[in-house]
């Protein structure tokens, strides 16, 4: 089915002309055949795999976090040199080029502090290595969340996680940004916080848009 979804659709508008000049009538039988297959396949969807999320571990200030892998585009193990942007909130480190796109670099630690209401001054060291970052978003609106270190990918069923977000370590965070907590999963008995990176990403863009209006 997925293979079909990715293949060229016989009736899909073809502005590039890659399908040549084949008229629609000749494409129709193929489409109908595909449609039959799709209708037949829709009733036998296997949902079990989708219920096991994959998360990527990362560290900020010694604390362990996780983020859903499907919310990220890439894990950047070496963030390129970034350029600060004047008139910016502290947590906005700047931007850097990545292939053909511009990426907004956000210091996740300072962002979480800010969301908590603890805005503070900070000197970004332009000469030091930026470290590692999680790339989120779409081309043209890419955001890299800088973290101290990126770890391994973990796969765990949802049932093992507490969704109450009541751990004292994470009370300071807005609950909308905390997806799950793994109690006692840390080696020192502490929890691992699963952050909702998509939520953070959406809010970062909103905050920046508001900010941009004023500067």
């Amino acid at each position: 089915m997925d293979q079909f979804m990715q293949s060229a659709d016989p009736l899909r508008p073809d502005p590039t002309g890659e399908m040549g000049d084949i008229p629609v009538p000749q494409r129709l039988p193929e489409f109908e055949r595909q449609l039959q297959e799709r209708l037949a396949g829709l009733g036998h969807e296997d949902h079990t795999m989708a219920r096991i999320p994959e998360r990527l571990r990362f560290w900020i200030d010694g604390a362990q976090y996780m983020g859903a892998l499907n919310a990220m585009r890439e894990a950047l193990l070496n963030v390129p040199r970034f350029t600060p942007l004047p008139f910016s909130p502290t947590w906005l480190m700047g931007l850097f080029p990545l292939r053909t796109d511009l990426v907004t670099l956000v210091d996740l630690r300072l962002l979480l502090d800010s969301l908590e209401g603890q805005e503070r001054e900070y000197e970004h060291d332009l000469a030091a290595d930026v470290g590692q970052a999680l790339l989120v978003g779409e081309p043209g609106r890419l955001v890299a969340f800088r973290v101290d270190r990126i770890g391994e990918i973990s796969t765990a069923p949802n049932e093992e996680m507490d969704t109450s977000a009541s751990d004292s370590d994470v009370k300071r965070l807005a609950s909308s940004y905390v997806e799950r907590i793994y109690h006692g999963a840390n080696s020192d008995g502490g929890g691992i916080i699963a952050l909702n990176l998509t939520s953070l990403y959406v809010d970062v863009l909103e905050k920046l848009e508001v900010w941009a209006r004023d500067v």
Binding site: R51, S88, T100, D125, L126, A212
Partner: protein
Amino acid sequence: MSESPSVLERFLDEVTLLISAIDQGVTDAEYAGDVVERRARYAETCRVSDALARLAEAFEAADIAALAQAVATATSRAAEVSDTSPIPIIGAHDATIYLRRRLADMRRAGAVAQGGQQAADAVGRLIEALSLAGSLSQPAAASDGEGYDQLSDLDPEERDLFLTFDSVELGARNADQDTAALRAARVAIGSEGEPTSGAPPSAVADDIDIIPLEMKRLFLAETETDLQELSQHIAAFVGGRGTQSSLPAMAGIAHKIKGSAATVGFPDFSRVAVFFERLVLALQSEGAVPRDRMSATLGRFIELFDACVVAAENLNSPDPAIVSEAQRLFELATSKDDGAMSADAVALMASARSRRSPRSSVALGIDPAASGMKVDAGRLEDLWIHVGALAINRGALANAHARVTQASHELESALERLQHKSALIVDGTTDPGRNRWGIGGSRGGAAPPGDAPRYTDSSPGIDLLRDAWQAADFEQVTDRDSALVALSEVVADLETHGAALSTALMKMAQLIETQEASIAHIQQDATRLRLAPLKDLAPRLEVLVNWLAPAVGKQVTFSIAGEMTEIDRRLLRGLTEPLNQLVRNAVVHGIESPEDRTAAGKPMTGSVWVRAYYVASDVVIEVGDDGRGVDEQALTGFSTGGEALESAVRENVRDLHRIFDHGVTSMRRAGALAGSGIGLSEVETRVREVKGEIEIAETSAQGTVFRIRAPMTLTAVQSVALEIGGQTFAAPLGAIMATFDHVDAQPRMPPSRPAETSEDARLLTEYVLNSPESPLRNSDTGGDDLASNDQEGIPAYSLAERLGISVPETPTAAIVVARGKNRIGLLVDRVGPISETMVRPLPPFLRRRLIRGVTIRAEDGAIALLLDVATIADQLLAGIVSAPPLAPAQPQRKVHAAPVLIVDDSITIRRAVDQALRQAGFTTALARDGIEALEFMGAELPRVIVLDLEMPRLGGIELLRAMRDEPRYTGVRVAVLTSEAGSTREQQARELGADAYLLKPCSQDKLVAVVRRLYANSEYS
């Protein structure tokens, strides 16, 4: 029916495709060239609709299934009709609009939800309309002009009612809950495959638009071309040229716009096209309105279309008054009352001024500026970006080549040292006096015994190897002998590899050069693809003059010169409205009535012209007339109510540029068509939006010339690099009058400004540039000599301070920006080279007023912000000089500007010291020996030198000696970093001027502490 998100997603995707296919099929059928093709298209659409019905049934979406089945039935009937005339299916396109809305609602709801009662009613009405298909033998519009083939023929309210359905049953919208976090949470939950709990909030149907943005973009791009073509046909028709062919062509274009606009979700746009099409059809029919009466009406329709385009760019419907006006124009033009026509048309035109929709400064990603070819501007943008990336990669490649070249040199240097040391060892073992083997001379001795290799080439390494073989006593080979031979072999191998590396580097350099030339050509081509000639605007301006002049009782001719002058399509589009307004003003205000012109000794027919030409990388467009000129007296004595101007008048300020102020007019009486003073203010705003400037170049009783100057393109710009607080910025060269490497800038506190107030803390320090001499370069912006009339000095401000960047000392370099008669200095740490750079806009959420975009530096692939120095200068001149907002949140950067020079022949040491010092915030420069250090210091003076002593060519002691003899190096502090321990050596270095003596290995902390101390004590000037 509850479906998992992935299944729902697929269902919705399928239905979206099918709806598009139906839409396309119906449109294809309507535009089919003959009856056979049309029937075939309807037959295909019937099968697609039937497929949709079956799919919807499978998902229990009853209304969609019913409607799709009705479309299938209607298209099936239409496919059987053999009439040669087009047979539109009433309601077919509207059915697809309904389906898209339903689809969008389901997408938002996250479930296949049923529509409400109103939805059922709407479906009922649509099915009823569709049932008429095949029962009509002729299209209503073509037969009597009363009916129309779409539901869009209904009044807007009726039509909305027809298509409205209630989505309340899908779940009440809770605005408070619909926060960003909730939205994100929904996404997150959905992505993990968890079932949705309850019905998520649903949006109002009218808020939803799932027609792909790409389709709208293509429509607007196509319509842009269509409207230009339409303008040409109107001009030809009104001018009596090609009447026979013009009207059908106009009708064809209108019909096309009508269908396309409705398809992509702009029904009111479509309605305007409907009235225009009807009007043209009426003109074609017997008893049409005379051509001269049509001039104003047709011209006005172009403006109405423009308004629709502007609205569509903002994803809006045009003002309802636009549609009403189109209808009224149609009715007036086809009415029998000749007298009413002219007066009503003028009244409509006058009222139009208040209805012009502002063009959004953020075009929501829709850029229809793709006339002349069917290429979407977005794709051109992509091409341009990718070409830019190629250029950046080329820069990175060149850098990599440079680094490899440097490594090759290091290798050569290391090899040389190795050769030297090896030769010493070999010589030591072969010296007759010290040779324990007792073998004779070191070179040219006896041939090696046994199977020793025979080298025929000669090089230091091979000679060494030969010596080693000769020296070895093969009767009594020891481990040391073996090691010696092996060492010599390594040296020889290194030589061979080094030579191969050099050859490869030469080849690589050639390839880079070739690639550089190719990329430059591609860049040029990509840039040219974005350009469009000014002549694209000519027909529109001509139509404007032709309809406007009679309406105000004047006789005016229009001409355009330099029409092949090219400008970026985006800029051309941005200048369309300003040029329209200037031409309009010229006709209404500038040109006198025939009587007045005769009295003034001028020809009765006035002249309005547009002229375009290049100045450097800018385009200049002049709009002129031979009218009465701007009434300066009226300008300074009359305002439509602006108190500021009255105040200015009291101060006897008579500046023609004030005509661009909001509410300022030269007209003694504001009329219906113009004179409110709003137009020119808007013109200046629009021109500034495309980074241009406008001025009155001439005005007299013989006429007026407005001059617009704008960059030819916003995507490629010549810029000069500026270093501020360790960060590299860029500034467009066009805005810069001159640059200076060194200036004398003294702080100045205006006497009117009381010091030590809290408010003062937010003000920028003002400096004075005292007649700087020897500018590095003057730009070709036409500025006069800088030093000739600046006896009082030029006011200047620190860009670092303006941008919120902390720097240790007052910057000593400057650029000077000219703004009209004013000039202002902007202080920086260093002015860099000029280069041609490609500009990319900042993402919308990062936009800053003072930053025009970003460029990618070829040398290191990093981003440089392109400063809008013109705006910065304007703000400073206007007194908007407050410190950056929210200063506490502004990251402060402590960067030492002047460099620390690291001189060491070991690349390892250079890198280690470089990294340590850069991390500590120092700017660094590197040299491999004393010669390179002196070369560097010839161009730039370091504050501190970290110096090795043992180096090839010129060692540390020799460098210190050379520096001691040169007074300009007196202030430079030197920290020796060497492995040569010994008081004699240290004493020698200190006597020659070394300030510190560090032994390798040295801890990073100690090194940084010493450099920091020396840096602070240096006598830097």
